[in-house]
């Protein structure tokens, strides 16, 4: 008590000090993050923009780059391969997010029933997302092997077709789904974990009030659970959307874009242009176009998210 009194005594002075320092604390706290991002993200971004207007080739650093204006942008936007890659990416992003959200939310909702042992099972389910997408892609290529691959053996056991009659990674109609399956296997737990956090953030008293009002479970789900978890789901979708739009590592190790260019998502095309054909200027322009596209979509999305949160 005495201690409390002693601390309370200089309050007016402290109050004035605080009034002065909040602003500087704010900048002191935000500063390091901003500096790091300026050095490692913004500076390279500006460099990329600069390169995108030249014919620079990273494998010929001594050649003087020539200013080519917007030629690179024009050739990216008129390149049918680029549009094919964008379609492949859109297919991949849509189906992975749709399935992950559906399964992830369902699992989180079931886990929130807090049955005996739910902690153990949650931990088990979380494991796939902890592995490296590159290592996972590499290993699923093993599981997808025709005939001896475990996936093929199990799929043939269920469906009855011969395990050597199909190749998930080698056939044009199957390959896009092969990468979707691996991504869903891997990242559903991520969406589940964020949904679970959302479900746990709903205070019991809201349900208690609903019970008192005799609202049905069904009504409680649609009027309480879903709206309150929605910002969390939207955040999970945002992060998965951005990550999968940039998807490179898993697909690179599963199919490297093949067969043909069936699974060539945007990042794989970018890597081919930048590190195999060494068209640095062209690929910089492609990168900027991709960035602007995600940036624009995410901007609209975040506005919607804030709108829902502030409701």
């Amino acid at each position: 008590m005495a201690d409390r009194l002693a601390r309370a005594t200089p309050a007016p002075l402290a109050q004035r000090m605080r009034g002065l320092s909040d602003r500087s604390i704010a900048w002191l706290f935000i500063g390091p993050t901003m500096l790091l991002l300026l050095a490692i993200n913004i500076f390279p971004l500006i460099w990329t923009i600069k390169l995108s207007f030249t014919n620079f080739r990273a494998n010929r650093p001594n050649a003087t780059p020539i200013d080519v204006g917007i030629d690179n942008y024009v050739s990216v936007l008129t390149d049918p391969d680029v549009w094919a890659a964008m379609q492949t990416t859109a297919h991949f992003v849509f189906w992975t997010i749709f399935l992950q959200t559906l399964i992830g939310f369902t699992l989180a909702y079931l886990l929130d029933r807090k049955f005996r042992g739910h902690g153990f099972w949650t931990t088990l389910i979380l494991i796939p997302m902890m592995l490296s997408p590159a290592v996972v892609g590499n290993f699923w290529a093993f599981l997808y092997q025709p005939q001896t691959g475990l996936f093929n053996v199990i799929a043939s056991f269920i469906s009855g077709v011969s395990p050597s009659s199909f190749s998930m990674l080698g056939e044009v109609p199957l390959a896009p789904w092969a990468i979707v399956i691996v991504d869903v296997w891997m990242w559903t737990p991520y969406v589940m974990l964020i949904c679970l956090a959302g479900l746990r953030s709903i205070p019991d008293y809201i349900y208690e009030a609903a019970e008192v009002d005799r609202a049905s479970k069904w009504r409680q789900f649609w009027s309480i659970t879903l709206p309150m978890v929605l910002p969390f789901i939207m955040l999970a979708v945002l992060f998965r959307g951005i990550e999968n739009f940039k998807m490179f590592d898993m697909v690179n190790l599963l199919t490297s874009g093949g067969p043909g260019s069936t699974t060539e998502v945007a990042s794989i095309t970018l890597k081919r242009e930048a590190f195999e054909k060494w068209r640095t200027g062209y690929s910089s322009a492609f990168a900027i176009i991709l960035f602007v596209a995600v940036f624009g979509l995410a901007n609209i999305y975040v506005k919607a998210l804030n709108h829902i949160k502030n409701r």
Partner: protein, 318 residues
Amino acid sequence: MRKGISTAHSVVDPSSGSQWFASVVVVFYALVTMIPLVWIIMTGFKTPADSISYPPKIVFSPSVEGYCNLFTTRSRQTDEYLASLPPAQGRCEEIARSQRMAVAGPSNFAPRFANSLIIAFGSTIVSVGFGVMAAYAFSRFKVPLKDDLLFFILSTRMMPPIAVAIPIYLMYRELGLSDTRLGMILLYSAVNVSLSVWLLKGFIDEIPREYEEAAMVDGYTRLQAFRKVVLPQAVTGIVATAIFCLIFAWNEYAFAVLLTSGEAQTAPPFIPIIIGEGGMDWPAVAAGTTLFLVPILVFTVLLRKHLLRGITFGAVRK
């Protein structure tokens, strides 16, 4: 403090019927999703021949050959040379000898694994440290252009890594940071700090301002209130965020494969290129994958309670 009141026999406790249904579905999903992983771990203990047999072998005689191949390099030798060697020391040497090979030395797996550990933990400390400060400032203070700054921070994560890699490589070469652990720590910190700020801001937003305000009325300064009131309340969120950052840095492949080649190379670009005689050495790859998973698995299990309580900031409930 008063947690007993709201939890015991509350009207909102799920019925035992719904619990039973939920447990059946969840357990089924968990078991199915585990099959590939169990298969990875099993393959690590198979011989190369067993790993690609048809039908796939569920029962097999375990071998440490995969782990031997992961950690050693071997060379094929003539019978005369092998006969001239001293008796085999250890299991790996015995296996190699039985295939008319001799262990030539350690492989690069151990140093690559150490690089992964150093870079992942280093970058997590930086990004969560910076992130919690920025998140607090964004959560509590009137920052000009707050939404724009927050969106700017998020937007840095939208750039495809391949696109950033070229200028980063040129920049690092100028600064002497190419293929160094410090360079990779800085790079991963910058990538992770956006996730860190966003997740932590969400967590800190849910801690009632009244707690700090009460502490400040008691004479705490703003910084003391941050350290002694907000940080302890945010522990769950900080831990969850740190795990996400760790997972990312540990698993990162695109930057690692494009920017590192030797000294600072991490495990993910290394594991897929383990090749034996006549193709992929799947047991060695599986062994590497298994070992690669263990540190994070242990870490997650230790922190399970924090993860599972999720967001029990439950400000209103307390």
